[in-house]
């Protein structure tokens, strides 16, 4: 058991941290306030080879492992939840499935531009009336000649309004339940019958677009089917195993960012003649932050390492995601408290981490669903 990161991973983490501190942190609040998707940041991330970290070099990726990807995601989360979320959705949900399940031709056409960061990707599973019960979907894809025709609405789709490709889950065989779901690659620029209906105003994460999208008689060629018909649900489960690790990593980053803000404030702010960190009440809050973050990070790194070793990570990734998302919210809430009145103002970062962290307990499987997954893994 080696808890030391490999040197290559450390160098990558340090470089990404430096980039985040210099280039992202100074604008993190502005883009949130302006509700602006920072395209220029993603161009810079592409220049640094960050958009396809866990994708093979053959298709323009970095050829890194899940642990390396988790480290990069954590660093992004440490400065900006919005950028971290768009990044994680792009990589885990929109890019990795094409590498895992696509044909060579599909990889060449659809994987490469994602992995090199030419554009961002999205994936569309959730619907207005189908959230935790994700397989109970209404979006249909009917085969007509050499085309599929997609009809339906997808809800809370990260990046949909800025994406170059969207992986859409739709029912191809209504009687077959889990086995009746398939995945399609939709080109939001070129395909007719696709429309972004809404970009949601949210409690936080407003620099990361969250959309309602609608397919009306959207006709796509049959070579846009990812894998085989009926494999959509199995693919979803595999995809979410990796996705949970990325949300765990992002959550650890949010917690870390909030913790650092609280720690530095507590050592500088003086009351009753000494730094407030010298008072047990405040010190204990900061200590608890450290404990929770370290626990969540260890779970995340363990799950990422298991993923890289080819082990099943259903259990460990659910534990990591569940634990880290709660850590992020709790730490961010306490960070607001440590900063007191200042913590409640938008001049200071903790409130932003607090609002961003809440989504981590909801997206890519709520905490309730994570407990369901873990319970099943325990045979309960």
């Amino acid at each position: 058991m080696d808890f030391e990161l490999p040197s290559e991973h450390r160098m990558i983490r340090d470089t990404v941290r430096e980039f985040c501190d210099e280039e992202i942190e100074p604008i993190a609040w502005d883009i949130e306030e302006e509700h602006r998707f920072p395209e220029e940041v993603f161009d810079a991330l592409a220049d640094l080879d960050m958009m396809g970290v866990p994708v093979s070099e053959e298709y323009g990726g970095l050829g890194g492992d899940q642990l390396m990807y988790a480290l990069v995601t954590e660093e992004l989360g440490r400065v900006s939840g919005s950028i971290g979320l768009s990044y994680a959705a792009h990589t885990s949900l929109a890019t990795k499935p094409i590498e895992m399940f696509g044909t060579d031709a599909q990889k060449e056409r659809w994987l490469e531009p994602l992995a090199t960061g030419e554009y961002l990707g999205a994936w569309a599973l959730t619907e207005p009336s189908s959230g935790s019960d994700a397989s109970d979907m209404d979006t249909m894809a009917e085969k007509e000649g050499d085309e599929y025709v997609i009809d339906g609405t997808k809800q809370f789709i990260t990046n949909a309004s800025v994406a170059g490709s969207i992986l859409v889950k739709a029912v191809t065989d209504p009687g077959a339940g889990y086995d009746g779901i398939s995945t399609f690659i939709v080109d939001p620029e070129e395909d007719d019958g696709f429309e972004v209906v809404t970009e949601w105003e949210k409690m936080g994460l407003n620099a990361s677009p969250t959309c309602e999208i609608k397919f009306t008689d959207c006709r796509i060629p049959e070579d846009r089917l990812l894998g085989e018909e009926g494999e959509g649900w199995t693919q979803t489960m595999k995809t979410l195993n990796g996705g949970r690790i990325s949300i765990a990593a992002l959550s650890v980053g949010l917690g870390q960012g909030a913790f650092e803000a609280a720690k530095s404030y507590a050592t500088e702010r003086e009351q009753f003649g000494k730094p407030i960190s010298k008072f047990d009440a405040v010190r204990d809050m900061v200590v608890e932050m450290d404990r929770k973050i370290e626990r969540s990070r260890l779970l995340t790194h363990k799950s990422a390492t298991q993923y890289d070793d080819g082990e099943d990570v259903t259990h460990s990734s659910a534990l990591a995601k569940y634990d880290a998302s709660e850590t992020a919210r709790e730490v961010a809430e306490d960070a607001v408290q440590v900063l007191g009145g200042y913590g409640y103002t938008t001049d200071f970062a903790p409130q932003r981490f607090y609002r961003d962290a809440k989504l981590m307990e909801i997206g890519e499987g709520t905490s309730e669903i994570q407990r369901l997954v873990i319970g099943r893994q325990l045979g309960l």
Partner: protein, 264 residues
Amino acid sequence: MKILVTVKEVAEAEDDFEIDGLDIDERYLEYDLNEWDDYAVEEAVTIAEDGDDVEVVSVTIGPERAEETVRMALAKGVDRAIRVWDDDLESADMLDVGTKADILAAVVEEEDPDLVFSGVQANDDGFGATGVALAEVVDMEWGAVVNDLDLDAEGGVAHVHRELEGGVEELTDIELPAVLTIQTGINEPRYASLRGIRQAQRKPLDVQGLGDLGLDASVLESAVSRTAMFEPESESDVTVFEGGAEEEAGQLADLLRDKGVVEG
């Protein structure tokens, strides 16, 4: 053409630290590439990218820990690196400018570069002398505190701007081979790309001891030794002037007279 860039891993102390004997307690130190050297690396790598057949070699004197730092230079485009270290260096109390210049001179003899870049100074001990001392030992032309460089590789001349005191700049031509000490601001150092970092793991990084360079422990002998380490006491005081511009000017004048800044 070959450019040798000397780089150093420097210690940075946290804001609050404790002193342990003749040094800052290790617990409060973090290590990173010297800021000036980052600009020197960037300058060399840019010349290599813009020119034909330019090899950039980096050299550092430092323990195994420094390997990550020198690999960062490799990640930014340096072709290969040399790290000088052995047990004798490990047991030395300190390496003074003369020692470093002698060691780096041995590397220069071995590599025979057309240009040597070093940072103006290191931001830990800050002697600011190694580059020029090296030029003296290897008998090369030199230019210190270079903040603009226009290299004429074919003509064998470096047209440089040197930063002098008081915002004055000297424009001068330096014949190659030469040692230039690079000032911050001469360029904008890049971030290493992640692919660059991955490739850097496979680039050659040679470790050489004093013996490999034809030197022995006598190079470590030094007339300089560290005798004490202390934090200088500093005082700060604030005076707030209030009133109209004329009144404030009067108050400032009084203060300057009181403090002895101006007479009368």
